[in-house]
Amino acid sequence: MNMIQAINSALDVMMARDPDIVVMGEDVGFFGGVFKATEHLQARYGKTRVFDTPITELGIIGVSVGMCAYGLRPVPEIQFADYIYPALDQLVSEAARLRYRSAGEFTAPMTIRSPFGGGIFGGQTHSQSPEAMFTHVAGLKTVIPSNPYDAKGLLIAAIEDNDPVVFFEPKRIYNGPFDGHYDRPVTPWAKHPAAVVPEDYYRIPLGKAAVVREGEAVTILCYGTMVHVAVGVVAEMGVDAEIIDLRTLVPLDIAAIEASVRKTGRVVVVHEATKTSGFGAELAALIQERCFYTLEAPIERVTGWDTPYPHSLEWAYFPGPVRLTQALEKILEA
């Protein structure tokens, strides 16, 4: 399966198991979603469980909160993560805090799916990576898969979770892993071990990172598309790096991070989002709080620039192999 099929399969499995799950969003019904992640679901589960919505992200999330108050478990789709901003108040002030403000009387067990990240010539309104903003909000969980197997297992865990989860899907790797070399052909998922996805139910718990590659020389912390960039660069450079795919940013697998940093003493954080106040800053701060005396070099951050995502220059914005290679060279020499 590719990522889209894996996500579709997760929704299918869960809708079959739980009649309280509803899927809604712009174009998700008859058409099956602009990326086809919800294809066939309406035909299978009916129009009252899978339906198109008006173009109001605020409404989509607000209505989902009300559905939660009734007892449903909505899985709303925001067509592009860039369009979550109109819904931010319902997400931040309502869904995220409902359990707290009502002392558990009302909860918002919803999973907001949204494609995010660049690399498809989406310009500054179809490319952003706003994950750090959500990790800052008390009461929200943030999940980002990097391959089909994880995408299905994590989405199932997110849907079963009784807290609101923001589930960001890196759209650049929907159809195949992408190593950051935009001028090379992309290999399809079919040739990747993570493309072997069971048809049935399984879950990957939230809050557990994956060690993608074990190594001794340096720890690379990454998630989403950047996992594949890291894997490619490490293979090309031939460095003995440990690559950790965080998979969920909140809750964060701090134990896995600490264990790796204590082993390698060197850390490079990679993400596609802008640098300033990005999630890399949080990771760097946590590591220096907890592992400062095992560090042998300053933590490096490889990120997008602090600019909006430019349309024609997107490959100059994208933190690809060149930027990561230079950071690794620098930290290994330090």
């Binding site: 919505t53 409404g59 607000g62 909160v65 108050a69 309502e94 359990r99 403000r101 009461g139 809750p251």
Partner: protein, 423 residues
């Protein structure tokens, strides 16, 4: 003149609305057309919105100036039910007065009264089923009282004391009572609107019979949430009642800043293809009848209704507000639709179901009831008792269903820091 403008054209002007009366002004409501009680027709509950356009601009009224119930909207309630409604409206006012005073005595940080608007929640709650879900704003405490919710429980919330089920996390009056069908109140305005529509959609999708109702002020109809909710409600014909309490003032901004100079709030319904009713919000029978009509319409799958309750906020916005600074003191007393409690009282007296003696006894009884509850609530503490109300660890609870490591660490850090500081 700004640089670069073409000089042969008149300068453009910006209209900034201004209320009719400011402090010190004499108030004259002569140009306010109430319409006659009983004059507005009552359409069938499944009437198409396009034959109801006039209902968005007229005013549904049942009680005439002599306290008689007239016209097609008379809900013909049993006298006992009318008296029960009257009693709950009086109880709401007594509750408000008592807690307003408690705030002035420093027992809590904040309070909001609904004086003059009691009918818009009490009569509405009477017309709904007990298990219909309400998504209130902060001036619908009457719903809880009408549903027989515990005064002590409500007061504990206002005091943020040990008895506060919300663990002292919410500002006073931001109640939550799932069992009473009363959704957790938000400080962010109109957010409850799409939520109510979502609840109604869920109920319909499940083939349930429960409906939802939401309340917001006229000022917050300017929020995007209001319009998103109307779109969803209309598109899916959600079984929901969307109430706009037009009490004329949003803190110090008069209704003109939400668009009242140009149209009515009920007329917002027309653009969405929804049924819209404009109703005298100080006429408990009109409020009841309109809510009952909208509820029956929702239950018949005939679609949502937007109701503007035309009323007046007789007191300040909150205990932090002084309305004498921005509006005429005469507005309240000269309000042409009167006081909802006085009007209902006049009606039950006119039909021979009530008298001044019983009314005075009832007023005393509700004050006693509130006083007794207050004693009981205050025995569990008041806000001024400070940090001792709730165990510190509760601060970290309910952020997530299960506490993640970072909150456990922070909770421990807080305990350690307090221990070291000897607190």
């Amino acid at each position: 003149m700004a640089e670069g403008v073409r000089r042969n054209l008149p300068p453009l002007t910006l209209h900034v609305p201004e209320p009719k009366f400011r402090p010190g002004d004499a108030v004259d409501y002569a140009d306010f057309d109430r319409g006659a009680a009983g004059a507005v027709s009552r359409p069938a509950i499944d009437a198409s919105p396009d034959v109801m356009r006039d209902h968005a601009y007229s005013l549904v009224r049942v009680l005439d100036d002599d306290g008689k119930a007239v016209g097609p909207w008379d809900p013909r309630l049993e006298p006992e039910r009318l008296v029960a409604m009257l009693r709950h409206m009086a109880l709401t006012r007594a509750y408000d007065d008592r807690l307003y005073r408690a705030q002035r005595q420093g027992k809590t940080s904040f309070y909001m009264k609904c004086t003059g608007e009691e009918a818009t929640s009490i009569a509405a709650a009477y017309a709904l089923d007990r298990d219909d879900m309400c998504f209130p704003s902060y001036r619908q405490q009457g719903i809880l009282l009408a549903r027989g919710w515990s005064l002590v429980d409500m007061m504990c919330q206002v005091y943020s004391n040990r008895g506060d089920r919300l663990k002292g996390r919410q500002m006073p009056i931001m109640y939550s009572a799932r069992e009473a069908g009363f959704f957790s109140i938000s400080g962010n305005l109109a957010t409850q609107y799409p939520q109510a529509v979502g609840f109604a959609m869920a109920s319909a999708a499940k083939g349930d019979t429960r409906i939802a109702a939401a309340w917001c002020g006229e000022g917050s109809t300017a929020e995007g949430d209001f319009h998103s909710a109307c779109t969803f409600a209309s598109v899916y014909r959600a079984p929901v009642i969307l109430n706009v309490i037009n009490n004329q003032w949003a803190i110090s901004s008069f209704s003109g800043f939400a668009g009242a100079e140009n149209t009515t709030f009920a007329a917002r319904a027309i653009g969405y293809g929804m049924a819209g009713l404009r109703v005298d919000g100080n006429d408990a029978l009109a409020v009841y009848a309109a809510t009952e009509w909208a509820a029956e319409r929702a239950r018949a799958n005939a679609g949502p209704t937007l109701i503007e309750f035309f009323t007046y906020r007789a007191e300040g916005h909150s205990t932090s507000d002084d309305p004498t600074k921005y509006r005429s003191a005469e507005e309240n007393v000269k309000w042409p639709l009167g006081d909802p409690i006085a009007r209902l009282k006049e009606h039950v007296i006119a039909i021979g179901a009530w008298d001044e003696e019983r009314h005075a006894a009832m007023d005393k009884a509700v004050i006693d009831e509130v006083r007794t509850a207050q004693k009981e609530a205050e025995a569990m503490g008041i806000l001024a008792d400070g940090l001792l109300q709730h165990p510190f660890a509760t601060m970290f609870e309910d952020v997530f269903e299960e506490m993640p490591w970072h909150l456990k660490e922070q909770s421990q850090q807080m305990h350690d820091e307090r221990k070291k500081a000897g607190i």
